[in-house]
């Protein structure tokens, strides 16, 4: 019976060997990125997992402050705006270099921005640059590159002419479409190969060394980075673990230094730990009502009754569990300088009255409606809870239907639904990223709702250079949206992660942006 102990010993030896990890030395930060990135090209990428990696390698004109997200100098040392708010001038630092030694200058940015706008690049995010003069026309092949309002005034000065004022432009240029791409690598390897390991050239704190699809992506410190002295980590490893429960086990087992997306069954356990990091996230979970298809939902009284009769606090406490805040408005109350109108209320008695006024006292005769959601555990739970709340408070029966993501997207965009779960994450810290969804011609509207007054207010806000007046106009527009109720906001998202206590310099912030430049891991 000596077999068992011997086998265990051999096993232990083997596992010790594999855990020591084949000679990768130095300070490393290992994070679960949740999925395999589509690309590492900042011009082509679209999602958060890509952004987590890209922002470590490509430094924009400005960078997010890791704590409060205000724009801090990146490649640009300083910037200024013309009084009419239409021209921004960025002064670039002279010592910024690509990892191959090539300098980063104003032309780098001009070229990068024209590249993303070019129809040949086929970038989904090109529209974010359409605030630049003639940019939209260029993408649509209606004008040539020279007409686009990006000018390298001298080697290290970049002037940007906008089509309309964007007061938060420095924050906007932190976003990935505005980040530079290395022309020398793109020219050499081609637009869809240059970002592979061994070819990619970076101007940020880290540069790509290993990319094994579905296995891992490893970045190493970029020694040519202008501020390399401040970079503490030697290596950053991103893992594409799709199963959040396994990712959490890996983290708890010391195989990762950080994870997000904690399975809801584990939240109560994890919440108590010191390495649990949480905070509001710049997004709203809400339901859309289809107001175009002729159903009871075309009646605003019905929509308001539905919105009034759910218990958001319960949903947040028992389903969300991360400290989500019940929505009082559509825009999250997180944007500096904007106080959204708090018009989302709960009042079951009033809801009943409104429904009666709409012709359905105690829900009698109310037609059957269906809640559509994309398959995800929390979506289902919320739909089940809301179904029950409506039944209890209004006496109406609704059905629930889940669909796989792409089918759901198609149903929603073709208005083939009654009530649909939705969520929106803002791209930049401004209410406009939420409000311009519901203009009549917005592709993201998808509710069939249209209000000329709302559209007019937003048009005026877009042309308004004064921040205070602009904010008031947007508030007025949001009031219209919430009163007419084509949507039913439920809660403001919360982001939760586990970050090992020996990791310093990662802060929770509402865009979930985590520059790793100054992060360190204390062993």
């Amino acid at each position: 019976m000596k077999i068992l102990p011997t086998a265990l010993a051999v096993f232990a030896a083997l596992s010790a060997l594999s855990c020591s990890g084949g000679g990768d030395k130095g300070m490393a930060f290992r994070y679960n990125n949740g999925t395999e990135p589509q690309t590492l090209d900042p011009a082509v990428m679209t999602g958060i997992p890509e952004m987590r990696i890209v922002q470590q390698m490509f430094e924009g004109l400005c960078e997010y402050d890791p704590k409060d997200l205000h724009a801090v100098p990146g490649v640009a040392e300083s910037w200024s705006v013309s009084p009419d708010g239409l021209t921004w001038t960025f002064r670039l630092r002279t010592n910024s270099r690509w990892s191959d030694g090539t300098p980063v200058d104003a032309e780098t940015f001009r070229w990068s921005w024209l590249r993303i706008l070019s129809p040949d690049t086929a970038s989904e995010y090109a529209y974010e640059l359409w605030c630049i003069k003639n940019a939209e026309k260029f993408t649509k092949k209606q004008t040539n590159a020279d007409a686009v309002g990006v000018i390298a005034k001298d080697r290290f000065t970049l002037a940007v002419k906008l089509a309309y004022p964007v007061p938060f432009f420095p924050s906007l240029v932190c976003h990935h479409p505005f980040r530079p791409t290395p022309r020398q690598a793109v020219d050499k390897y081609g637009g869809d190969q240059w970002f592979k390991a061994g070819k990619l050239v970076a101007n940020g704190p880290f540069v790509l060394t290993v990319w094994k699809p579905k296995d891992r992506i490893v970045l190493k410190k970029n020694t040519n980075y202008w501020d390399a002295a401040k970079v503490a980590l030697d290596r950053v490893e991103f893992y594409p673990v799709e199963d959040s429960a396994s990712a959490l086990e890996m983290y708890l087992n010391g195989e990762l230094d950080g994870v997000d997306g904690i399975p809801s069954e584990r939240i109560d356990q994890m919440k108590k730990r010191p390495d649990f990091l949480t905070g509001p996230f710049f997004g709203t979970y809400y339901y859309r009502f289809n107001v175009k298809t002729p159903t009871v939902l075309t009646n605003a009284l019905v929509r308001r009754a539905l919105s009034l009769s759910i218990d958001r606090a319960q949903i947040c406490e028992y389903i969300g569990k991360l400290g989500q805040k019940p929505s009082l408005s559509f825009t999250p109350p997180l944007i500096p300088g904007y106080r959204p109108p708090e018009l989302v209320k709960e009042d079951a008695a009033l809801a009943k009255k409104l429904l009666a006024r709409a012709g359905y006292p105690d829900g009698k005769g109310f037609p059957s409606l269906t809640i559509l959601y994309n398959t995800l555990e929390d979506n289902r739970k919320i739909a089940e809870a809301i179904q029950q709340m409506w039944k209890k408070n209004l006496g109406i029966d609704v059905a629930i239907e889940n669909q796989e993501w792409k089918v759901y997207l198609q149903k929603v965009s073709s208005l083939d639904y009654n009530i649909a779960r939705a969520g929106w994450i803002g791209d930049y810290a401004d209410p406009m990223t939420f409000l311009d969804m519901f203009t009549a011609d917005s592709g993201n509207n998808q509710s069939g709702w249209a209000s000329p007054a709302y559209d007019a207010l937003l048009d005026r806000a877009k042309a308004e250079p004064d921040a205070g007046k602009r904010s008031a106009l947007m508030r007025e527009a949001e009031t219209i949206l919430l009163t007419d109720c084509p949507i039913m906001p439920i809660y403001t998202y919360v982001r939760a992660m586990m970050i090992a206590t020996n990791v310093q310099g990662i802060y929770d912030n509402f865009l979930d942006m985590h520059p790793l430049k100054e992060v360190r891991v204390v062993r």
Binding site: Q314, K381, Q387, A399, I400
Partner: protein, 296 residues
Amino acid sequence: MSDNVKPSENTPVKGNSLMRDAIRRLGKNKLAVAGGIAIVFFILVALLAPWIAPYRYDAIDLPNQYLSPSWHHPFGTDSLGRDMFSRVIWGSRVSLAIGFVTAAVALAIGVTWGAVAGFAGGKLDQAMMRFADVLYGLPFMFFVILLMVIFGRSFYMLFIGIGAVSWMTLARITRGQIMSLKNNEYVEAARSLGASPFRIVFRHLLPNALGPIIVYVTLTIPGIMLDEAFLSFLGLGVQAPMTSWGLLASDGKNAITSYPWLILFPALTLSVVLFSLNFLGEGLRDALDPSSRNRS
């Protein structure tokens, strides 16, 4: 072997006496009887769910979420405070219906297909098995989507459809059995007596090939019950808040360490059903087997 214990040693077994004999022999197999009783019990539970479940499957009570098992909630409560005991009871309806309907359809098609191919041999066999290969080559998920396009969300049609695309392994097993049995003497004998091929296959060969087929079918039913959870994930199975064992198990998979009862009871129920099916299947195999009469 003593010849009076085995009077029909090498004669093909005929249908009627076979069934009567099989039932009698099945009745003597205690485990099989226990399995059968358990299955009947579960079917009764499914039929009577509205009357025996203490709560409705959709009775949400958020503040009472994740309660551990107690007198009021013998299986605890789930993430929305619903009684797990009641949900397991309600879930039996979907799971059992799916398991049996699908297995029956797959059995009917697979056995017929495999028997015909195996017996005919030659070109017909090749053509039939290549057809099965084509169906194999297209994964399950594809069929499901295809079927949904054809049948819409019609719940039972979908499962008849799934049965209709999951018969290929059965066909292969049947074919293998038939191929090795068809050269036996009694087939030649039956043939020389002028029995039609149809009769030879279904009266003479199949009864003797039933053993492995029955075991395989009892093995596939759990798989089908679990597949249903995946279909529901795609929006094709049951719709919330109705549930099934497969869904309950997949919902509970992340709760192993935090709320183990969420996974324990659905998994346990599934296992009990499985064991019952299994004993019944083994019993049936022994009972149907013409040459295992003296096995107790």
